[in-house]
């Protein structure tokens, strides 16, 4: 059975995992503030050694490709591409939000990953309690998200939503206040580390693997320069 290495560097936490089918063989997580760029490969080397695996034993590289920190996404994707090219294997991008939701599936609550998108917004989406996507990824202010969730939960059962992701702790007070008796916070050890979900989800969809040059980041947002330029062109078009 194929061994899948999952990588998640899209947010505050850095995590790696190796999955085989529906079995998690190994995982490693860091939440120590050091840069992912410095820690990723030494952690991978240690993880593989601990699992008595050689790099060549890996059959597929999976990586969370966004949304998330632009720089974090690129560290993960550039590393994943280099590993895939170096091993001569394929690469499978997995939604950062879906991988985060995977950590708390099957707990009887809708799942709402919230990742820090700066500018007082979160990257978010909504998943069923089993982890199927209901709302597509978006960048939203937490207040706006709470409003949409209140409306959704008024019409759906169970009337509970669990928040997961690196912005959950930051905004949980506001979300709890806006969604009384409906909001839950994922346990700390399940909040920051998307790699196990990334690897296990990839193991379910091996046929979607890509050659490394075809894997792209899903930034969700344009760069500031592109936004400004588009706004200027739109203003000129109106004149």
């Amino acid at each position: 059975m194929a061994k899948v290495l999952g990588i998640d560097t899209a947010g505050k936490g850095l995590s790696l995992a190796v999955a085989e089918g529906d079995k998690l063989l190994a995982s490693a997580c860091l939440n120590v503030g050091l840069t992912h760029s410095q820690r990723l490969l030494p952690l991978l080397a240690a993880l593989l050694e601990g699992a008595a695996l050689r790099p060549a034993d890996i059959d597929l590289i999976a990586v969370t490709n966004g949304p998330g920190s632009f720089t974090g996404l690129r560290i993960g994707l550039a590393t994943a591409k280099g590993l895939a090219a170096g091993l001569g294997c394929k690469l499978l991008p997995v939604s950062t939000l879906e991988a985060a939701a995977y950590a708390v599936r099957g707990m009887g609550a809708y799942i709402c990953p919230v990742l820090d998108a700066r500018r007082n917004e979160v990257y978010t989406a909504l998943y069923t309690p089993e982890g199927a996507e209901l709302w597509p990824p978006a960048a939203l202010a937490p207040e706006k998200l709470a409003e949409q969730l209140r409306e959704f939960l008024a019409a759906n059962q169970p009337r509970r939503v669990m928040f997961v992701g690196d912005a959950a702790e930051l905004y949980i007070e506001r979300l709890l206040a806006a969604l009384p008796d409906m909001a839950l916070l994922a346990p700390a050890e399940r909040r920051l580390f998307g790699a196990p979900g990334c690897a296990l989800l990839a193991a379910e969809r091996l046929e979607q693997a890509l050659p490394p040059e075809r894997a792209e980041a899903f930034y969700l947002r344009l760069s500031e320069a592109e936004r400004n330029r588009n706004a200027r062109l739109a203003a000129e078009a109106r004149q």
């Binding site: 840069t35 760029s37 410095q38 820690r39 990723l40 490969l41 030494p42 991978l44 080397a45 790099p55 632009f70 720089t71 690129r74 560290i75 994707l77 550039a78 590393t79 994943a80 591409k81 280099g82 590993l83 895939a84 090219a85 170096g86 091993l87 490394p212 040059e213 792209e216 980041a217 930034y219 760069s223 500031e224 320069a225 592109e226 330029r229």
Partner: protein
């Protein structure tokens, strides 16, 4: 015969090269992003980083294909560690580290400016240390004594804008395209340096300053506009170019004499400027002035490979915790 795969991504070119003993290039691939950044009048760091991520695999694969080598036949992977745009550097560093780890190859970390200063070896393998290097590009302007491979003494550098940056800003003010260096050189060729724009001499140092010149040109253009006076863009370009190159050339030649170095190496994108090359040679007719072809002046991975060859010989390898450094200093080795 050692074969090194080199990767460079410090600014807006994604580049890969394969080099072997004697500075012999087996492949040299550069994917430039200039057309993308021209829309914005200069390099946009976030866009550059995104472009690098999309380009790095095809560029490296093309270099290996040009060299006729499989990755397994390469002996080491070299990469630009810094200085440069951090987001851009991180793509190359992350990719190179992962590639080296997965393929079981040693990793070599190269300083971008050491790369530029090593570029002349690609076409002049007989060049010997020590030499005086004038490194002038879009992000760096410095005078250094290259004492030995990996051993450089930085004598001075720009206190504000780099020379290439000054060319870019002045070109933008004149309505010329990005990058400004080639555009100004071309336009200057049709004009005369009739305006005496100020050069900052910063006497007693080998430092440079180009922000005053940029302001002087902007003021000049504003005044002409307010008074409704005509002027020739070509003359302004020629005058601005003169104000930049006279100070670069004079300091390079003075340093070569002070440190008693027979050879002056011009490196970096601005070293492609013909007027600069001629000026340095005319100020120092007794010295050998060496400069790379334009394709090795602008950012490329061949020069990173050239610097990496010496590191390979010294056995100076980087480990997997290597990080990109936006402000990596030009270092010394004892």
């Amino acid at each position: 015969m050692v074969k090194i795969l080199a990767i460079e991504s410090s600014c807006d070119e994604t580049a890969a090269a394969v080099i072997t003993d004697g500075y012999r290039l087996l492949a040299n691939v550069v994917a430039t992003q200039i057309p993308v950044h021209q829309l914005y009048g200069g390099v946009v760091p976030e866009i550059a980083s995104r472009e690098h991520l999309n380009a790095v695999v095809p560029v490296v694969n093309r270099a290996l294909a040009e060299a006729g080598l499989a990755l397994s036949e390469v002996d080491a992977v070299a990469v630009t560690q810094g200085p440069g745009l951090i987001g851009s550097l991180l793509v190359g560093v992350s990719y190179a580290k992962a590639l080296a780890f997965a393929a079981g190859k040693p990793l070599l970390a190269v300083h971008h400016l050491e790369g530029h200063m090593s570029a002349p070896f690609l076409e002049h393998p007989e060049l010997r240390f020590p030499y005086l290097a004038l490194v002038v590009s879009g992000s760096h302007s410095g005078v250094a004594v290259a004492e030995a491979p990996g051993r450089y003494q930085l004598l001075g550098q720009s206190r504000d804008d780099a020379a290439g940056e000054a060319f870019d800003k002045i070109a933008r003010a004149l309505g010329l395209p990005y990058p400004g260096g080639p555009a100004i050189q071309q336009t200057a060729g049709e004009g005369e340096a009739v305006y005496d724009f100020p050069s900052a001499w910063l006497e007693g140092t080998y430092d440079f300053s180009f922000s005053g010149l940029k302001s002087a040109v902007l003021n000049f253009l504003n005044q002409k506009k307010m008074k409704g006076e005509a002027f020739r863009t070509a003359d302004v370009a020629a005058s601005a170019q003169e104000a930049i190159i006279r100070v670069l050339a004079a300091k390079a030649v003075r340093a070569a004499r002070e440190y008693d170095l027979d050879t002056i190496v011009l490196a970096g994108g601005v070293a492609a400027n013909q007027a600069l090359r001629e000026r340095v040679q005319s100020l120092a007719p007794e010295r050998r002035v060496v400069y790379p072809s334009p394709k090795f002046c602008t950012d490329n991975a061949a020069m990173i490979g050239a610097a990496a060859l010496a590191k390979w010989q010294r056995g100076e390898f980087a480990d997997l915790s290597l990080n990109a450094e936006a402000n990596l200093p030009l270092y010394f080795y004892a």
